[in-house]
């Protein structure tokens, strides 16, 4: 944490730096504040006041209406996200374990092929994937979305674990092997207990990705099986009736809260995942 500043005294330039940083804090917060304020206003309040005016009456009607519209989709998102996160993380851990400690001829090539998946524009697989889901009878189901998220999440989850395990000394595993420990015993007894940080990173990364997904949701689901992001988009972009901005904003908050909460609680792992996933990937 050493800094480049000469001495942290009070000088004009330091005041300027703080001013810029604080101004930026305010600017970054504006959208969130506006969303919250609007969500607690009544429609009349919205039309008479402005974005940052305080609600004349704090009203929960926007939240009640929003929840009444999106609650089913919120549960869909949970039904999709939880299994998809757990399965893709588990497979990623095993893949990473093999790719770092049980390499075989061709495993490196496979890793290279997999890495490309981190960059894959999903538009190039949407049609075949939807044909396949249709053939499997999983079109427009939450199970189908779990499946798709697991498949296209593998690149990142494997990358996380592989890069983490590659730094564990070989000697540890070799010694265990000589003692007769097998593939799964070593994984369970030695590798898994030291994996907590990377498991956290991976869980949080996958949770954010899958919860926030829109593309797969809008292509592979319809009606009752849609995730919250699709429901939110439908709500906000329907042109029937008068626009209820308080409901829109409350629904946006509902869609955003789970990932925001995770970010507040486990921000450290979130940032680590972003940089590991992004820089290496």
């Amino acid at each position: 944490m050493t800094s480049l500043a000469a001495k942290p005294g009070i000088s004009l330039s330091r005041i300027a730096i703080y001013a810029v940083l604080i101004l930026a804090v305010l600017l970054y917060l504006v959208p969130l504040v506006v969303m919250l304020l609007t969500s607690f206003k009544t429609p009349e309040d919205i039309s008479t006041g402005n974005l940052l005016s305080w609600p004349t009456v704090v009203s929960g009607i926007g939240w009640v209406k929003a929840w009444g519209t999106v609650d089913g989709y919120f549960w869909n998102s949970i039904k999709i996200t939880v299994p998809a996160v757990l399965i893709s993380t588990a497979i990623g851990a095993l893949n990473g374990y093999v790719l770092s400690m049980w390499r075989f001829r061709g495993s490196q090539l496979f890793f290279g092929l997999l890495l490309f998946g981190c960059f894959l524009p999903f538009q190039t697989v949407l049609l075949p994937a939807s044909f396949t889901l249709g053939k499997m009878g999983l079109a427009s189901t939450t199970t189908g979305l779990v499946f798709v998220h697991v498949v296209y999440g593998l690149a990142f989850t494997t990358l996380f674990f592989r890069n983490y395990y590659i730094s564990i000394p070989d000697a540890l595993v070799k010694a265990a092997r000589l003692d007769g420990a097998g593939f799964f015993t070593i994984f369970r007894r030695i590798i898994l207990p030291m994996s907590t940080p990377i498991i956290m990173v991976c869980l949080i990364w996958q949770f954010t990705q899958i919860w926030n997904d829109f593309l797969f949701g809008v292509v592979f689901s319809s009606g009752d099986s849609q995730p919250i992001t699709v429901a939110l988009n439908n709500l906000v972009n329907t042109s029937t009736g008068a626009k209820e901005y308080n409901v829109d904003m409350a629904a946006a908050m509902i869609a955003g809260l789970p990932t925001l909460l995770v970010y507040v609680v486990a921000g450290k792992y979130f940032v680590r995942g972003l940089t590991a996933g992004a820089v290496k990937g």
Binding site: Y28, N237, M249
Partner: protein, 302 residues
Amino acid sequence: MSSVAVFSKASPFDALQRWLPKLVLAPSMFIVLVGFYGYILWTFVLSFTTSTFLPNYTWAGLAQYARLFDNDRWWVASKNLALFGGMFIGITLVIGVLLAVFLDQRIRREGFIRTIYLYPMALSMIVTGTAWKWLLNPGMGLDKLLRDWGWEGFRLDWLIDPDRVVYCLVIAAVWQASGFIMAMFLAGLRGVDQSIIRAAQIDGASMPRIYWKVVLPSLRPVFFSAVMILAHIAIKSFDLVAAMTAGGPGYSSDLPAMFMYSFTFSRGQMGMGSASAILMLGAILAIIVPYLYSELRTKRHD
């Protein structure tokens, strides 16, 4: 590689142990080969067929690509991508670097400030788009706010202005991604060798000059990664357009990802949609292949 085999007699257990890693990896290998590469190939094939609402495999040669290039909307989407991508990458980098450098000056409450800068990255682009659509609402959003605050002549109606709507996308995307770029550069700055800076200070160089001439040039790899990530986000941008403008007014804010979606899934133009997807893949490859190449080359030198 498996040295165990040398020491132990080959029992069924050992044989199983030797095959286990391959067995464990096999499903993923299958998924990657089929679900990644097989599907890309499939889409590639579809882009050479006359497929419309349903896939068919009547050979059409390059007809779909020709139609794509004759399609005004595709050109609008491509030009928008260049404009959106260029501005998004440029502005995000400038803001990210600036905030990182400022935050690196022994700032009180640095952790708190960082948390605020980065939180938009946790949100879905749909949530971001919804929020900014409201903020940029002509007549009710910032437009009205600044007039209420006394700036009488203020007008902000970019969201319904076909010539300026792309800027709305840029604003929202910069808001979402700049904190992340800040975090990347801050991590990079923390790794810079302090002795170089002290030496420059002793030589009498001013801090802005030291940053400009010494520190930032040493962060070239971070710049590369950042540009690549941002370009990648720009090319894939779909959710933001869907939530904020749905490509409108008209199709003035269309991006290739949006184009691909609407032609493939709403308009029953599977062949042309596939062709546009393949061109998107080409754009991504054009960015990552040089990047991966330089990454691998430097790794080898280490």
